[in-house]
Symmetry: C2
Subunit: 312 residues, 2 copies
């Protein structure tokens, strides 16, 4: 029986593992199919994680210390896919791919969310190298430079506004005439002088070289292509919350979720199920920042330790 | 008029400053009397902040990068003591020592909390060098070694239990016969084999050398002194929440607080007053960890940026 099963190996899961094992908990396993590290390993640069400020280091370099540190205190790593978490009596059953299962006293779910891809040419090749899904993370790299935003919902316009305070000009490309965002958000964006709305258009291709993105080709509904030079591209076409492990065999969630499929937690990262915690980008109101996800992971692990103490 | 006044220069305040200014906000000032950095600068070693894992570095070394990074994007530092924050109409007035005042659109309060001192000999000299007020932070440095805990309340016993999973033996020194903690906590502690209760006693002196604490002298109510060798000392005699800036001239709090004087916030670090945010150790349910305080600071700053956008 595990004392704690941690599902997901991004900043939240790794930090939870660090805190659980350094807090003296034995039998703590982190389930992650690939190499732990999370979305940040796809970034070419990071400068908003406090204490890490080296401009020549990538997200992969950044996570290097985490690997050593978070596994140093006895955290185990299982490279197995988790299918499902179920509460069975007092404890949890974790069903793995292939049908094998593991029992655990507590579970911390931190499987994150995955930004949707828009599907234009070059998107995968330049992801993290000029194609971004996070204005907070990457906006500053385009200080006083023009950027292009793809999307027409609330997030796209809010992030465009955020970028407009940093960048010289923000071109918001949207495939329709009308925006889906809330009217006050649309009005605010319309009033902002350096935000330009490019409607009835989509991104045809992002172009670049080994250094990253150099520009984008925007195609309108008439098929005309405009090339924008010297710009980064921010894509906000939605996120998929990776919550499938919290669904039972009938497809029902085992804990309370909001309408967007995010786990409802309190300040202690407690879910509606005792002994089940959620941390990082998959929880409600997640700011989707490494430092916040890590903070969540620490809190969840301390709560796990307290919960197990109470059971003893 | 400041866009944002940040009060307090620990990990929460510094991270809030980093996120606010990197997010394009102008006129952001951090008020902190001394050098920013917070309680962690008093630690001789830190190993639970993800990404920082260098055993020969102190808390002061650790904060070195933070200083450069958090002030790099335009955050200003005012070495002035804040007396009071008041909401005056749509914005805030920050009254400084001496009567001078500053106006701000938004305020993030992160003045932390201060562990109370017990008053024994050597306490100040060895603080952060073997005398600790944080089991989560420093317990692991005594893995499989004996430690001494001072205190008789809930926190003292809960932290003793936490330490008992890491350390060989935990000696809980309490000046009375009875413990003030909740009965289930006391029973749990009594059942744990490696926790030893040393009642009717107090710490007379903590002794050590340039490397830090080497042992403690425990004095009982009859005046007998027992020397414990090779032990760290954890002091849990309460915290003072540094909330005085949130009191008005009549001594009433300007926002909702809990019974312990901690600021009530939601997951977005919003207080009960619009435009006023709290982050770090002074908020309810704070885990009192650098990474969590930093996570709070990031969230609060992103909320400040969104709040100011909504006003525009």
């Amino acid at each position: 029986m595990l004392n704690c099963a941690i599902i997901g190996g991004g900043p939240a899961g790794l930090t939870a593992g660090l805190y659980a094992t350094r807090g003296g908990l034995k039998n703590v396993t982190l389930f992650e199919m690939g190499m732990p590290g999370g979305q940040i390993t796809q970034s070419s640069e990071i400068e908003n994680y406090p204490g890490f400020f080296e401009h020549d280091k990538t997200g992969m370099d950044f996570m290097d210390t985490w690997q050593k540190q978070c596994f140093y205190f006895g955290l185990k790593h299982e490279m197995k896919k988790v299918e499902r978490v179920a509460k069975t009596g007092e404890h949890f059953t974790i069903t793995l791919e292939g049908g094998e299962s593991v029992e655990a006293m507590t579970v911390i779910v931190c499987t994150g969310s995955t930004p949707k891809r828009a599907g234009f040419k070059g998107e995968d090749a330049f992801f993290g190298k000029g194609v971004s899904t996070c204005a907070t993370c990457d906006g500053f790299f385009y200080k006083n430079k023009p950027v292009t935003v793809l999307g027409g919902g609330d997030t796209a316009l809010e992030e465009a506004f955020y970028l407009s305070n940093i960048c010289s000009d923000v071109y918001v490309v949207h495939r329709r005439e009308e925006f889906r965002a809330a009217p006050p958000t649309i009005e605010r964006v319309m009033r902002k002088e350096n935000i330009h709305l490019v409607t009835n258009s989509f991104i045809d291709e992002v172009v670049g070289n080994v250094m990253g993105v150099t520009g984008v080709n925007i195609k309108n509904n008439n098929g005309e292509i405009t090339h924008m030079d010297n710009t980064g591209l921010f894509v906000f076409v939605g996120h998929n919350v990776n919550n499938s492990v919290l669904k039972d065999e009938k497809g029902e969630f085992i804990c309370a979720m909001n309408d967007w499929g995010q786990v409802i937690v309190d300040l202690s990262m407690k879910t509606s199920v005792e002994g089940l915690f959620a941390a990082g980008d998959m929880r409600i109101q997640a700011p989707k920042q490494v430092v916040s996800a890590a903070g969540d992971g620490a809190v969840a692990a301390l709560q796990v330790i307290a919960y197990i103490q109470e059971q003893s």
